[in-house]
């Protein structure tokens, strides 16, 4: 599903954020990206949805070489990749339902599809009774659920999450992880960057550790360190 071959990403000022990474992630896998601050986790994730392009190496997503993808095709790539932010990035003036619907509206989904899929996904994330609330009326955990609903409403093949529990307390984080686990069990590949030792150690999924951009550990059913 995701394959990196000798991928190197260098930012301006010669910062090597990812160095010669070779990783192969299969369909339906759940992968934790761990490593110290600045080790390149976010960069790794941004490379996967073409927010960044590598200086060297090749990246395949769903069998396609996305490092050489024409700029106009990038949106269509992203329709297959859900993205969850640490700070949720909900639109404050839109209701929960509108925030989720927005993701479908802007890729031109017809109205009747939106009307059906939005309540269904909000049901799945456990927010059926908060559809008409605005984000400030929700707890952090609930906001993150909305953000997950928005990322998953189009049923992407891949879900990328950059520290999705970074702004949440441990108990709320457990709820979010249960949700991501459920989504993963539907066959969605999940790649999640995290600092949360507890989560990684309880979930026991594949762990890829980065150190100054290099993959220093790639462990099935791994632990934080």
């Amino acid at each position: 599903m995701i394959k990196l071959e000798n991928v190197t990403k260098v930012y301006k000022g010669d910062v090597v954020a990812v160095r010669d990474a070779t990783v192969d992630i299969g369909k339906g896998e759940f992968v934790f990206l761990v490593g110290q601050s600045g080790s390149g986790k976010s960069t790794f994730i941004r490379l996967l949805n073409r927010e960044e392009t590598p200086e060297h190496g090749t990246i395949y997503v769903a069998g396609k070489d996305i490092s050489s993808l024409g700029a106009w095709k990038v949106p269509y790539l992203r329709r297959n990749i859900g993205y969850i932010f640490q700070d949720f990035k909900l639109l404050p003036k839109k209701t929960v339902a509108e925030n989720v619907a927005f993701a479908l509206e802007v890729i031109g989904k017809p109205r009747h599809v939106i009307r059906k899929q939005v309540p269904a996904i909000l049901e799945l994330v456990g927010l059926a009774d908060k559809m008409e609330n605005i984000p400030t009326e929700l707890s952090g955990g609930e906001q993150q659920r909305v953000s997950i609903a928005r990322a998953f409403v189009n049923r992407p093949l891949i879900l990328l999450a950059d520290e999705p529990t970074g702004n949440l307390d441990p108990q709320t984080s457990v709820g979010i992880m249960k949700l991501l686990d459920r989504i993963n069990r539907t066959g969605t590949t999940v790649v999640m960057a995290t600092h949360d030792r507890g989560i990684v150690d309880t979930m026991r999924r594949r762990v890829i550790e980065l150190d100054r951009g290099q993959v220093v550990r790639d462990q099935a059913r791994g632990v934080y360190e």
Binding site: W72, P75, L77, R79, K89, L91, A103, E105, V106
Partner: protein, 297 residues
């Protein structure tokens, strides 16, 4: 890519409200610049129409009586065969009628009551020496001759009118071009500020896979909407300029020289279409630069 018109309209409307003052300034600038631009064309058309008889160095016209005898006519023609006259052309009644019809093409009620027989034939004269005094004196020699109804000369006044109209319309053109540049920059600023104020929406759109065009179109429509509102205002102003100012000058009995100072309907419409085209181009450039510089990164 399907972009629903409701989505686009709603987004455009919201964008317009968000920055009402700036939008207002932009619309006014576009309106005034387009009005001046259109005014340039209208004044030019009107001057051309008014002075058509004086093109190609013709300095005076001898209008004959429609019932002048052949003898009187021959007499005049004889006098025109003189070294003082470089050349002359005889415009018979049918040709005069044709000109008349052309000049009043849009107002059939004018030429329907006129027949060639009642129109005066004329001699259009190009003197050897175009000096105003000489022309004046030459023209006067014909004024009292039998069979002559009137002699009209393109004296200094006409030249002055032509020159002044040229000056005025040149100022119109220059000012309108400067304002059009300002309008383009204002549209650009507007679209950029709309883009800035919607940073989070744009970020989400990009991450969920909205196409570039889908993201761009509401912003570009905003620029277009401003230009169109401005163009509408300019058009109303142009309509007023044409119907009240230019037509008023052309109707005046007082100024023989201004006769024919008018703009035909087709000239007015082509000016309107041109104005609309300029509005589209200005908003296109402004918003295109804005979206390519500030949206696609």
């Amino acid at each position: 890519m399907a972009i629903s018109p409701i989505y686009a309209l709603r987004e455009t409307g919201q964008n317009l409200w968000r920055n009402f003052m700036l939008s207002f300034a932009t619309i006014i600038t576009i309106g005034v610049s387009l009005w001046l631009f259109g005014g340039f064309f209208l004044v030019n058309y009107a001057v051309d129409n008014a002075t058509a008889r004086w093109e190609g160095g013709i300095e005076f016209v001898i209008w004959m009586n429609p019932d002048a005898s052949a003898e009187q006519d021959a007499n005049i023609r004889n006098s025109l065969e003189s070294p003082a006259i470089s050349s002359f052309a005889y415009v018979d009644q049918d040709a005069t009628y044709a000109e008349f019809v052309e000049l009043f093409a849009d107002t059939p009620e004018m030429y329907e009551v006129v027949t060639p027989e009642i129109l005066p034939p004329s001699y259009r004269v190009i003197p050897t020496n175009p000096d105003a005094d000489v022309v004046q004196e030459l023209a006067l020699q014909f004024a009292d001759r039998p069979g002559v109804r009137d002699v009209v000369s393109a004296d200094e006044t006409i030249r002055q009118i032509q020159n002044q109209a040229d000056e005025i319309s040149r100022v119109f053109l220059i000012v309108s071009i400067i304002l059009l540049i300002a309008a383009t920059l204002l549209i650009l600023t507007n679209v950029v500020s709309a883009i800035r104020s919607r940073g989070s929406e744009i970020e989400i759109m990009k991450v969920v896979g909205a196409t570039n065009w889908f993201i761009r179109i509401p912003f570009m429509l905003e620029g277009l909407a401003q230009a169109m509102i401005g163009a509408l205002g300019a058009w109303v102003g142009l309509f007023f300029l044409n119907n009240n100012v230019i037509a008023g000058l052309g109707d005046g009995d007082a100024l023989e020289l201004m006769r024919g100072f008018r703009v035909s309907d087709s000239e007015f419409y082509s000016t309107s279409v041109l104005m609309l085209g300029i509005a589209v181009i200005v908003s296109g450039i402004g918003s295109m630069v804005a979206v390519t510089r500030y949206l696609d990164t």
